[in-house]
Amino acid sequence: MVEILSNTVALSRMQFALTAIFHMLWPVLTTGMAIYLVIVEGLWLKTRNPDYYHHARFWSKLYVLNFGIGVASGLPMEFQFGTNWAPFSEAVGDFFGSILGFEGAMAFMLEAGFLGIMLFGWGRVHPVIHYLATIMVAFGANLSTFWILVANSWLQSPSGGEMVNGKFVVNDYFQAILNPFMVKSVSHMFFATLETSLFVIGGISAWYILNQRHQAFFERSLKIVLAAAIVVAPLQIYIGHLSAEQVYHYQPTKLAAMEAKWETSPAGQPADWSLLALPDESGEKNQWEITIPNALGYILEFKPNLSESVLGLKEWTPSDRPRMVGLIYYSFRLMSGIGFFLAGLMLWSVLQWILGNLASEKSIDKNGCYAPGFLLLPWATSLLKPVGLYAVWVGNPGHSMDKFARLMPLPISQRVTSSLL
């Protein structure tokens, strides 16, 4: 323990992990919620139904609470590349720094610059101008997602230049932006923000309905998010699959850790897929595991035989392997599990909607109790969803910094700033 406290790299990693994981949650909620605000305000302008107006006002207050924490927790993210990872910043500033600059000037400022009008401008500006402000807030928030994921995906699959004398020299900016991971990573994150916000809004609505407060009002928001979830929840599973596929092609080490796979499965043959296991890093094996025979080919490529071999962790020397295989293995399973759970919940809720059980007057039985208890579940899952996000970020970027460190001639770990101690 004392060793860790005198190790600037370990401390910087801990700081980065803590700040990134905590920050992560809030912008995810605000970005998706901003789109929801655009929808309800648009419905209000179109129908002039005051319910929609009150929805816009209600959810925007929740929005700004999240936004405040998001802004506050985002500040260390902007500066800790310099304070803690100075050699890294110097080496990749030409590209990575520019992208953070774009994010600030193009996206974040847009969101912040129109937020005041969105929150406090009711009655001060024309409704159409107000609606434009809401759209700009949502547009800015989603542009932020785009640029941040451009930066992140570039760390996962650096391209568009080469390392010269310890510095990444960019030859082609557009190739660097359109790096192999970019499209799928941005989409996966975009739908993650939508899905999280939908289920949080749905969960809060369900909680109000369950407590029999403003049922008709919150039934409206529940139905809006359910309708959106019909598209979003299954699509996110599919994009998640595509993201896993790119890990298969570009980051075999990470795939091996995600699957706790120690031995290589050769191409042209089927392979088993591990459902649950207890990885043992020192023993280079799983203590026990439950596998589904021949399933890996279907999961990765929708066909029985693998077209490329899937490498096992033993292909690399222990120092080149990701550490904490169990954490990566289970965070990946937790993430996919939650994705499927939310899709299932969506299907069930839609079924109840079709059967007519969603209308609040029907769902209250004679004793005034709520009849179909299924509405309790979205509330529970609205808490679970962020866990899924944490899971994917624990499994993902913590590793990406390491990967990038390896690209550099001098390991970052030897040159991290001395200012910490």
């Binding site: 304070t83 953070l100 600030g104 020299v169």
Partner: protein
Amino acid sequence: MDALLHFLPQVWFVILGLFLFLYVMLDGFDLGVGILSLTSSDEERRSLLMTSLGNVWDANETWLVVMGGALFGAFPLAYATILSALYIPIFMMIFGLIFRAVAFEFREHSNRKLVWNIAFGAGSFLAALGQGFVLGSVIEGISVDEAGHFIGSTWDWLDWRSLLVALTLIQGYVLIGSTYLILKTEGELQKTHFRTAKLAAVTTLIGAILITIATPVFYETARIRLFSPPLLYIFAVIPLLGLLLVWLLLRSLNREEERTPFIWTILIFLLTFIGLGLVVFPYIIPTQITIYQAAAAPSALVFMIIFVGFLIPIMLFYNIYQYVVFRGKVAGSAYGD
């Protein structure tokens, strides 16, 4: 080609200067109002102070984020060296800004306001203090090796000179915060801030004079580089113009004018910035690293000018629009309902 290699970093030096000036001016009055709230006795007054900032503070703070990103992209070496050398004051600022930001959003909905009042006031103070130490340390100079990497020690940033800069910056923020409140409030609250503005104007002036005398960059570097024509004339004009502006400011405060004190204060800030920029140029870390050494590759600078440069007028436009929408005196709840 050589001219281009010099021209691009110069353009970015000016752009970063602009971002930094906008941040210091705009978030300066936010932080100043926050520091002033510490002396505010009742809840109603504090509410008004926070409401006067409610719709603009986050856009103002965003100039810092924009500047951080632009510094990272345009001068990676400076971003890396300055931030790693000044880890503690940077995080002092970040902690302060975190408490302030959260206080803004949560106080409005909270029944126990005391916690958020402290978070708002103390957060603003801490953020300003951290920024002052960063500014003071940078103009005093940071120890670096030949490659420009930090070789000093953890507490290099803390000495009486950087403390002087920090305290003066706080006075400056209190000054611009007071003049902003004069503009945005009326009655007793406004009267209070005529008084605080006068006091802060005097202390800021004293601080500025002491910094100029005490900091080597002003008395050594500036003497060698600037005390020869034609820069001599510019450099001679700045202090005179500064004194004139302070006099105009004090006169407008004595006459209890509402708008002019804020304008004079902004001009004083602008003049200070131009003066500082002239002394520091072409260094980004004074007398150690020039903007040419720290600059990213020309292609990166061009790429950023295309993407960020054309956004500057757009950002300015919608920020000004926001101030136009919310012009006039503050009253009651920010939500307007």
